[in-house]
């Protein structure tokens, strides 16, 4: 967040932009705010009645005008009841409008996150993106429903009370305002200090959470290395730093709160003194002097909360700004306005002199020009950082090329509607990611509304009947969070089943690197074999066998396609692939000493 602009001004801009993004909030907001200001009027009926009562009956020497007083009382009762109803209506309107508007904003932001390639490129940022659609929006809702409206009500109350005061006596009004001047002057200073204090609190909370996680997440490490004392010391330090930061913020809140109370005392003392003096000079009635004490009471409350309201408003606006910034981040890969339909049948792909770089980074792929024929089985190999993963991302349009084109069945991917593309091309990531639901529901991610018969049919087709039969509850098996009730290998099997249900023409596979139990490995290989049958496939290969069995091997090195041919051809050529292959063989040969 840049603080180059005046934060107050940019704060207003954030609120305006935010409201524009949540039309439900904006609609009728004027009426709601008007009702809010009206609802502060009821309170002023009390000082007025007190003044009338004292000047017309309660005080000394005045002739008791009961009739006029009861009229005033009736009007006051009516006003108080009416403003209570107005306040109720205002709050309901506010709750309904803000909740509706923020839900729209929440859903819009969620959808937008899915459109950002950041989500698939940068796993570390995911937690942050979650907080954009959860806690940040909750902050805004707290602001609109509590802090923000409190600000409006406070200002309204101060203004209305001041108007009533001025109506009674400009001199006493000045006295009261003078008593509050030091407070309001120091308000910004206090708010600044407080906001910094809360920043420190937030920072120490983050640090504390990180060290508290150590004895939990790293329990076995702590135990195995006998570093309990050291860990406890780190945890204690984190807790203490957070404690100190909280106490400091709390002390600022306490002092600003008390300062407003002091100002109130000063205002009442001053208005009584000056009021008596003016009253003796026949410039004021006795009721007015006492009414002022009640009017000051109307100002003290809002003044007490002012610092906290301002601080919370700043936090909320910062949250709002973050959500807006997220929505302002353009989706880098967009659905075409006028899509071209993909031809029917199994498709081939073509990279047409393609160059790719991440924004601000060096070229990851340089001038890649290659054609993949329909039903061809292609293995992509290369060292980490050679560009082979990016190659796969381009083929599935997770990113767009900087120069050149990716063509599918002769159509530029950028002209293909997402829906059309996803029907034809499917990427199977390394890790089989599952959702916390039953196996059935996870499989249906591949084909919406697939019947149980269809699901079981796919299980058979991929030769996984024996595995399926061993599951505790068949299709109703709950896979747990991220599929953790299944082993890594089994998750991969589910991912393959899901892909088979999606029935794409072109499969892009990222082979898993981590070793799984050989028996599952065998199952996976067989299932994969059946899945690839009759489809075009591009596999980022980490295993020798995958490359050996492919129709064609593409070898990447430092962002360039350096070799292209069959396994046998490339081994014979004695280049990069031959070297890579030799080291692979060396490893597996080590173990093949027996028959």
């Amino acid at each position: 967040m840049s603080d180059v602009t005046d934060p107050r001004e940019s704060g207003w801009r954030v609120v305006r932009r935010g409201l524009a993004l949540s039309p439900e909030v904006k609609e009728g907001l004027g009426v709601t705010l008007l009702l809010a200001v009206l609802s502060t009027i009821g309170g002023t009926a009390v000082p007025v009645v007190v003044q009338r009562a004292i000047d017309s009956g309660l005080g000394d020497g005045g002739s008791t005008d009961v009739e006029s007083l009861s009229r005033w009382l009736l009007v006051a009762v009516a006003m108080i009841l009416l403003t209570a109803v107005v306040a109720y209506v205002m709050r309901v309107r506010l709750f309904v409008a803000s909740e509706r508007g923020l839900t729209t904003l929440r859903v819009t932001a969620f959808r937008h996150v899915h459109d950002l390639s950041m989500l698939t490129q940068n796993a570390e940022r995911r937690g942050v993106l979650v907080s954009r659609v959860t806690s940040d929006i909750d902050q805004v809702s707290l602001f609109l429903q509590f802090t923000g409206i409190m600000l409006v009500l406070s200002l309204g109350q101060i203004v209305v009370a001041t108007v009533v005061m001025a109506f009674y006596s400009w001199q006493l009004t000045l006295v009261v305002l003078a008593a509050f001047v030091p407070l309001f002057v120091s308000l910004r200073w206090f708010a600044g200090r407080l906001s910094r204090a809360y920043d420190t609190v937030r920072r120490t909370v983050g640090e504390m959470l990180a060290v508290i996680a150590e004895p939990v997440v790293g329990a076995s490490v702590v135990r195995a290395h006998a570093i309990e004392t050291r860990t406890q010391r780190r945890v204690d330090e984190g807790i203490d730093r957070n404690l100190r930061a909280n106490v400091r913020a709390q002390s600022l809140v306490a002092f600003t709160f008390a300062a407003a109370g002091l100002s109130g005392g000063l205002a009442i003392a001053g208005s009584v003194a000056v009021g008596v003096w003016l009253g003796v000079a026949d410039q004021l009635s006795m009721g007015t002097v006492i009414a002022f004490a009640f009017l000051v009471g109307l100002v003290v409350g809002p003044a007490q909360n002012a610092t906290q309201v301002l601080t919370e408003a700043q936090n909320a606006i910062a949250s709002w700004r973050r959500v807006i910034e997220l929505l302002d981040t353009p989706a880098d890969v967009v659905d075409p306005a006028r899509p071209v339909a993909l031809p029917d049948g199994v498709l081939g792909a073509r990279f047409d002199h393609l160059t790719f770089a991440y924004p601000g980074g060096p070229d990851v792929l340089t001038d890649v020009d290659v054609t993949i024929e329909p039903r061809q089985r292609v293995a992509v190999v290369g060292e980490t950082g050679s560009g082979k993963t990016t190659f796969a991302k381009l083929l599935t349009r997770l990113v767009d090329p900087r120069e050149g084109r990716v063509l599918l069945g002769g159509v530029d991917l950028r002209d293909v509607a997402f829906a059309d593309l996803r029907r034809h091309v499917l990427m199977v990531p390394q890790e089989g990611f599952l959702f916390d639901a039953t196996l059935r529901e996870n499989l249906r991610y591949g084909r919406d509304g697939a019947t149980d018969a269809e699901l079981l049919d796919v299980v058979s087709r991929l030769g996984l009947d024996d595995w399926f039969a061993a599951l505790p509850a068949g299709l109703d098996t709950a896979v747990g969070q991220r599929g953790e009730s299944l082993s890594a290998g089994e998750r991969q099997l589910v991912a393959l089943l899901r892909s088979a249900l999606a029935d794409p023409d072109l499969l892009v596979l990222d082979e898993a690197t981590s070793a799984v139990d050989p028996r599952t490995e065998l199952r996976t290989t067989r299932a994969l074999e059946r899945l690839l049958d009759g489809r075009t496939s591009v596999t980022i290969a980490h295993r020798l066998t995958t490359a050996e069995n492919a129709d064609r091997v593409l070898v990447f090195d430092a962002g360039r396609l350096v070799e292209d041919g069959t396994h046998a051809e490339l081994v014979a050529a004695g280049g990069t692939y031959a070297r890579l292959h030799a080291s692979w063989v060396a490893q597996s040969q080590l173990g093949v000493a027996a028959p």
Partner: protein, 607 residues
């Protein structure tokens, strides 16, 4: 997509615990907190009572000033200077004392709360460090983190409004006394209005809290859906499920919206009502007061005082409602925290020191292990690994490989049988001595929020040369040297992010730098390139050959890893099915051959 998304949201049941139980548990919770922070809590309550008394005094001073300054001055047409000064000093004095009360109440009361929270965080994390791994295994990570954080905060949250609520009770008593002194009839208004204010607060909390609890649990659902959906972004995107995911999120977001609106409607009634009531009370006081003054039963100042009391007392009364509203939530948090604090079963360590140098001799005798007391994961394992040997543990998933490794460093103890290190039962060794002798590199690589150096040494007294040497052995010296600050580079959430392979190498270096006598690798190299893994294991084997390396037990999947071992232990269904060199086992055991050849079979299947 999940079942929970289509069924109506369920309220958090535990928030509806029977209210008498809440009161009983709540009383114990309050008592516990008060005892823990006796002195400061007393100060905050005294300050709060001072605040309450001064609030009432404020009204009394206004009444006094009305009768002794304002009325006489107006009546005589001259300012009663002496009395005026007295009233000014009274106003200011009361304001100052009241301000002191506010600072004390809010600041000291806040300190009480923050100290209680910090104190319990320390207690809970101490339990985490003391409780055995078997206890940790039984409790999900997320739950333990929330016990130490959200639950501890919830448990003591009631202490935030508590001092004020106590002060308010004192204030109400003082207010009624002040009213009685002023005028008995006017007091009646107070006796109607104060209980009404109290009742509205209680009723409001009762009415609101289930709705607020529902909204809270729905908020959790929304967050869970967002987490899951973003984590699975690649699947969502490649299957083109963005619209369906958005629809799923929308359903949860709208359920939260409706719950928030429902709670909001209740809140909308409450605030205007609480504002209205004291205002009407003032009008009633004025109406009745006129009669009282005319009949000579009360002075105008009395009426002003009582009227003013209502305006200043109304807002603080809410503190009682805050305490009542917070209490059920606090009890739930407190119960959860007590669950951790009450857990027992620390692992006791013995008094003996292990031998200081040379590779260890490892022996397992009749080792059995069960996580739940019924299904045995290990069923009588007898094993001997001679000093300086490298033993590979091979077996299918669920054969008990990982469990076996956790017994060696006593992350768990066998249910039956013994683990002997150089002939000494590991249960007889001191914790430090055991940790010194045995280094386990577990599956998954935990990196601390600290520098590279600290992540390797973990506070052990090792110089940088030794750190670099360990890093070199695991082929991590190059990438560490390239980090922005080398060994001083901060890692973790707010530091540099390492790749899985880099993390794993760092964790290996952490084990090596301590020069353990027994090194246990539980699938610790799976995230490494096979080539890197091989080089690391060769370097280790070389050191062992020179008599400088540890005895090694390695859980292995890859043939290359297995081939580097001096001997292979083939585990099947919790028992050793065969033991010997790799070629021997290939010859002797059909099952072993089938298992390790699975890759080759896979190749044939593919070909």
């Amino acid at each position: 997509m999940s079942d929970s998304s289509s069924s109506p949201p369920q309220p958090a049941d535990e928030l509806f615990v029977a209210s008498d139980r809440v009161m009983a548990r709540g009383a114990r919770l309050l008592g516990d907190g008060i005892v823990r922070q006796k002195a400061l809590f007393t100060v905050s309550v005294v300050c709060s009572v001072l605040f309450g008394a001064m609030t009432v005094a404020d009204a009394w001073v206004l009444g006094w000033a009305t009768d002794h300054v304002i009325r006489p001055s107006f009546a005589r047409g001259e300012v009663l200077t002496g009395a005026l000064w007295t009233s000014i000093w009274l106003f200011l004095g009361v304001a100052v004392l009241r301000a002191i009360g506010i600072v004390g109440r809010r600041l000291v009361g806040g300190i009480v709360y923050y100290r209680l929270v910090a104190g319990h965080r320390r207690l809970v994390t101490r339990r985490y460090l003391a409780l055995p791994m078997s206890w940790h295994h039984r409790h999900p990570t997320g739950q333990l983190l929330s016990n130490a954080n959200a639950d501890v905060e919830a448990a003591w949250a009631v202490f935030m409004p508590l001092p004020m609520a106590v002060g308010v009770v004192a204030m109400l008593v003082a207010a009624v006394v002040a009213m009685l002194l002023a005028d008995v009839v006017l007091t009646l208004v107070g006796l109607v209005v104060f209980p009404a204010l109290f009742g509205i607060n209680v009723f409001y909390q009762r009415w609101l809290s289930p709705k607020a609890a529902l909204a809270q649990s729905l908020r959790g659902d929304v967050s869970a859906v967002a987490h899951e959906s973003f984590d699975g972004a690649l699947v969502v995107k490649s299957l083109g499920r963005e619209a369906d995911e958005t629809e799923r999120f929308r359903r949860h977001a709208e359920a939260l919206r409706d719950a928030n609106i429902a709670a909001g409607r209740i809140r909308s009634v409450f605030d205007p009502l609480l504002e209205m009531l004291p205002n009407l009370a003032v009008l009633a006081v004025v109406l009745i007061g006129i009669g009282r003054v005319r009949s000579g039963a009360a002075e105008p100042g009395d009426v002003v005082q009582v009227a003013y009391l209502f305006t200043v007392v109304a807002f603080p009364v809410r503190a009682i409602g805050w305490v009542l509203g917070e209490l059920p939530r606090s009890v739930v948090g407190w119960d959860r925290v007590q669950g951790v604090l009450g857990a027992t079963g620390e692992m006791p360590y013995g008094p003996r020191d292990a031998r200081a140098d040379g590779a260890a001799d490892l022996r397992l005798e009749g080792v059995r292990f069960s996580y739940d007391g019924s299904t045995e994961v290990l069923r009588g394992v007898d094993l001997h690994v001679a000093p300086g040997r490298v033993a590979a543990v091979v077996g299918a998933t669920g054969a008990g490989k990982s469990t076996l490794t956790t017994l060696l460093s006593r992350l768990l103890d066998p249910t039956d049988g013994r683990v002997l290190l150089d002939g000494t039962d590991v249960r007889e060794l001191t914790h430090d001595s055991l940790a010194q002798a045995v280094a386990v590199v577990p599956q998954g690589s935990f990196v601390f929020d600290d520098t590279v150096r600290e992540n390797v040494t973990l506070g052990a007294d090792v110089d940088d040369d030794a750190v670099w040497e360990a890093l070199r052995t695991v082929q991590a010296d190059r990438f560490v040297a390239e980090l922005p600050a080398g060994l001083d580079t901060q890692l973790g959430e707010r530091g540099t992010t390492l790749s899985g392979g880099q993390r794993q190498r760092l964790v290996l270096a952490r084990a090596l730098v301590r020069r353990p006598r027994l090194l246990v690798l539980d699938d610790a190299t799976s995230a490494l390139d096979p080539d890197v893994e091989r080089r690391i294991l060769l370097a280790l084997a070389e050191r062992t050959a020179q008599g400088d390396g540890p005895t090694v037990v390695v859980v292995a999947y890859r043939k290359a890893t297995i081939a580097l071992a001096d001997e292979v232990v083939f585990l099947a269904d919790g028992a050793i099915a065969a033991q010997g060199t790799h070629p021997e086992l290939l010859e002797r055991s059909e099952d072993y051959r089938r298992l390790v050849d699975a890759y080759d079979q896979a190749r044939e299947a593919a070909g």
